[in-house]
Amino acid sequence: MALSREQIAMRVAQEFKDGDYVNLGIGIPTLAANYVPKDIEVMLQSENGLLGMGAYPHEDEVDADMINAGKETVTASKGASIFSSAESFAMIRGGHVDFTVLGAFEVDVNGSIASWMIPGKLIKGMGGAMDLVAGAKNIIVTMTHADKRGNSKLLSACTLPLTGVNCITRIITDLAVLEVKDKAFYLRERAPGVSIEEIEEKTAGKLVVEGDIPEMTI
């Protein structure tokens, strides 16, 4: 069965290694912070200038001067550092952030991603997404495998305006974990109870299935 948002977030959290600096986009990526394995530590970077993002504040801790990149009130964890936007993106652009997790409208077999603009709809802007996909060492895209009408989001070539080119190597959807390389999606894991046939059917870009494809353990 397709994973829930929380289950996708759980699977994402399994990717983290002890000592990783991680930037989590809005939505499912942010949920991953709740499922970091107990035996490792990761530190969250928020691109408005906070390394060591903590939990949401209790009511008596709320401070208008302490927000995250989603403009939500937040706290700083012990050992956090705070700095300017230029420093924050020096960190991101310079490849010092180990992991970025973000959502997308489309990803293609070249590792290109479209996530910020749908022509004909109002354009709100890319925020830090273009910098993040250009800068992080490892990028994970989380999204549903297909849209609500069943159209695949894993394409031969993105149709929407791009956020970045040749930068995505790993995708975690409600149906599967896939690696992007050699102009194809390599199926690595499938959601419990989801068949390879269903994944093939919902993947428009070239899909490679090699050997046994294990089910994810959530």
Binding site: S46, I67, E72, T73, A86, M126, M130
Partner: protein, 234 residues
């Protein structure tokens, strides 16, 4: 002898010289760390045709959003806009122009403007609409685009504490774009919560040295919260 005393006593004085069709860089991220009183003064002055460089354009009725009410802004250079219905309406009507710029590129363009770097290369935006019409070049096997610096006639900046020389520190994540904005204005105006005695700020802990600051004014801040999220329980 005024020496290095940059404190002004009125908002009129703080924004004196601002004229129609000028470019203004504003610090802040969303509603966090914005120079509330300086924005209000621009509204009061009615200056129009402005190009405003800021990561966001506030919300309806607060922050830079209030400059939309009388159509004072001609063009926004931002990474993320549209928290705000009036913005959307003016954009669709063609009354407002927007130049979307990736957040990190925007921060670096401001820093470059202040630092005498006319242009730099970044991988951000290569192969996307942001890279269209810009020079691209390969360094060590990777493709980059050239981005040019941004400077402005005025920079409006918000800090926590400053001395009369303009040396200042920012509070928590209200720092954001303010340090770069401070360097990139021909005239930089600093609105602060508190003016402290010279010597009170530890020299190596000053975020923005006074050399970048032309005028300092003490303000009163509402500090509206855009998205209040709290944890429940202990």
């Amino acid at each position: 002898m005024a020496g290095f005393n940059k404190v002004v006593s009125s908002y009129e004085e703080a924004m004196a010289g601002l004229q129609n069709n000028m470019t203004v860089i504003a610090g802040g991220f969303g509603l966090c760390g914005i120079p509330e009183g300086l924005i209000a003064q621009i509204k009061k002055m009615g200056t129009n045709g402005l190009t405003v460089v800021s990561n966001n354009c506030g919300v309806d009725g607060f922050g830079l959003g209030i400059l939309l009410e009388d159509k004072q802004i001609k063009k926004m250079i931002s990474s993320y806009v549209g928290e705000n219905a009036l913005f959307e309406q003016q954009l669709l009507n063609g009354e407002l122009e927007v130049e979307l710029t990736p957040q990190g590129t925007l921060a670096e363009k401001m820093r470059a403007g202040g630092a005498g770097i006319p242009a730099f290369f970044t991988a951000t935006g290569y192969g996307t609409p942001v890279g269209e019409g810009k020079e691209s070049r390969n360094f060590n096997g990777r493709d980059y685009i050239m981005e040019e610096a941004i400077t402005a006639d005025f920079a409006i900046v918000k800090a926590w504490k400053a001395d009369k020389f303009g040396n200042c520190i920012y509070r928590h994540t209200a720092m954001n774009f303010n340090p770069m904005a401070a360097t990139a204005g021909k005239i930089t105006v600093l609105e602060v919560e508190e003016i402290v005695d010279v010597g009170e700020l530890e020299p190596s802990q000053i975020h923005t040295p006074g050399i970048y600051i032309d005028r300092v004014i003490q303000g009163n801040f509402e500090k509206r919260i855009e998205r209040l999220v709290t944890s429940k329980g202990a």
